[in-house]
């Protein structure tokens, strides 16, 4: 009797945990700061994936994309034009979600679990000049990975319209 009650209790606890996990997927992963809940969706990535598989390959797959993002973040940290914007950022989370976003947009087998572009950037007061500074850092990071310019532009073409949501000032 006690055992079955215990089992039932465990079972229901398990169920509710599963239900909880389903309605609220993990917004922050271990090692990241807590974030307010939001609806997870690939649509938050802000662009549809590129359907041409050659582009993902040219970026070196997920590993190559991770190197591009690392290169980008290294450059951003040292770019006096924009480093202030990122100073208070949760860098592990920023890195993870950027990799997810680029991987998803480049047609890779990734899901984007970050927030949408408008809510992420709402409070940063970003200007076009700063947006362009980030573009230049990304171009440098892609150059460093030897990604052909025309294929870099395939990614940039998907990112460019985010100017509407990112630039608020």
């Amino acid at each position: 009797m006690i055992r079955s009650l215990l089992l039932a209790g465990l079972f229901s606890a398990g169920l509710s945990a599963a239900a909880l996990a389903q309605s609220h997927p993990p917004h922050a992963q271990p090692g990241e700061l807590e974030v307010d809940p939001y609806t997870v969706s690939d649509a938050n990535a802000g662009a549809d994936p590129i359907e041409d598989a050659d582009v993902f390959v040219a970026f070196g797959g997920e590993a190559g994309i991770a190197r591009v993002v690392d290169g980008l973040l290294e450059r951003v940290r040292e770019d006096e034009r924009i480093e202030g914007i990122f100073r208070a950022s949760d860098w592990p989370r920023l890195r993870r979600t950027l990799i997810e976003q680029f991987c998803y947009i480049l047609g890779g087998p990734c899901t984007y679990t970050g927030r949408d572009m408008a809510s992420v950037h709402r409070d940063h007061g970003i200007t076009t000049r700063e947006f362009n500074a980030l573009v230049e850092n990304l171009q440098d990071a892609m150059d460093a990975e030897g990604i052909p310019f025309a294929l870099q532009n395939r990614l940039l073409a998907r990112l460019a319209p985010m100017h509407r949501d990112v630039v608020t000032r």
Partner: protein, 294 residues
């Protein structure tokens, strides 16, 4: 007289620019445009290609600032040489003002025509351009180009000679509508411009003529391929009126390479085919332009 008209034009342009700048708040930052997205300077001073005026606004400024460019351009032809130097301002990536002085040296042709060796036509071009809608660079999820409307007021300094060759006026106004778009996923820049004009050879040979005196529509087309961030290669074609019985005029075309050395300096070289100029056929040669911007 012409001098006074130039000042009137300058004042009108300043009058247009002032309110625009004030309404948006004075410049609070310099620069910020991506390389090459300010265009180069046309021989008429507008932001554009070498021959075609584009919808891009000159200067390195974004919507939060003021920028500008200065340019010097030269065209060496078999029988003539042409140069243009000017300055332009861009306000908030929205409005552009430009002034360019053109000099067309007839070299030995001048002597042959009895005008004197090295007889030179000079022309002042005052330009204004307003970006209407669309975004050439950021709206990559739309095929719609950036559209701008422009005006160029031109004053030639050789009215007596212009009169003798059949031109009706020594000054004129061109109006144009330009559509420019960067199709980034193809690394392609396309431009189409339609111009209403009475100008003979840009106005170097005056405005209107014995064959045709009215405004005509003339198209200007450019296509460029971005090789990398700093290098745009492409070609342009510019339709032109043909108003003068004495001096038949051809469409112009060029093949160009524009190289952004850095955010401040762009060098452009082109092969140009300007066709027949004052009865001297096949005026093909080299164009070179240096543009400095902030």
């Amino acid at each position: 007289m012409a001098f006074r008209k130039q000042w009137v034009a300058a004042l009108v342009l300043a009058g247009l620019a002032g309110p625009s700048a004030l309404a948006n708040g004075w410049s609070d930052e310099w620069g910020g445009k991506l390389l090459l997205t300010r265009g180069i300077s046309t021989v008429e001073g507008a932001g554009g290609g070498g021959l075609a005026s584009w919808a891009l606004i000159t200067g390195n400024e974004t919507e939060r600032g003021i920028g500008g460019t200065a340019h010097a351009s030269w065209v060496e032809l078999p029988d003539y040489s042409f140069s243009a130097q000017g300055v332009a301002l861009g306000f908030h990536d929205r409005f552009e003002l430009s002034y360019t002085r053109q000099a067309f040296d007839t070299e030995a042709v001048g002597a042959a025509l009895g005008l004197g060796q090295g007889f030179t036509f000079e022309q002042d071009v005052f330009g204004a351009k307003l970006r209407l809608f669309g975004d050439a660079v950021y709206d990559q999820d739309s095929w719609l180009p950036q559209i701008a409307a422009g005006v160029q007021y031109k004053v030639n300094n050789q009215s007596a000679v212009l009169n003798a060759i059949g031109a009706q006026d020594d000054e004129g106004v061109d109006l144009y509508l330009a559509a420019t778009k960067l199709y980034l996923d193809r690394s392609l820049l396309l431009n189409a411009t339609v111009r209403a004009t009475r100008a003979n050879q840009l106005g170097i040979l005056g405005f209107g003529g014995d064959l045709e005196d009215d405004y005509q529509w003339a198209g200007e087309f450019s296509a460029g391929y971005l090789v990398n961030r700093r290098l745009l290669i492409g070609a342009e074609y510019r339709f032109k009126p043909d108003n003068l019985g004495l001096a038949g005029e051809d469409d112009w075309l060029d093949v160009f390479a524009a190289w952004a050395v850095n955010e401040h300096l762009t060098l452009t070289a082109a092969y140009v085919d300007l066709g027949s100029i004052v009865t001297f056929e096949d005026q093909r040669g080299l164009y070179f332009s240096i543009q400095a911007g902030f």
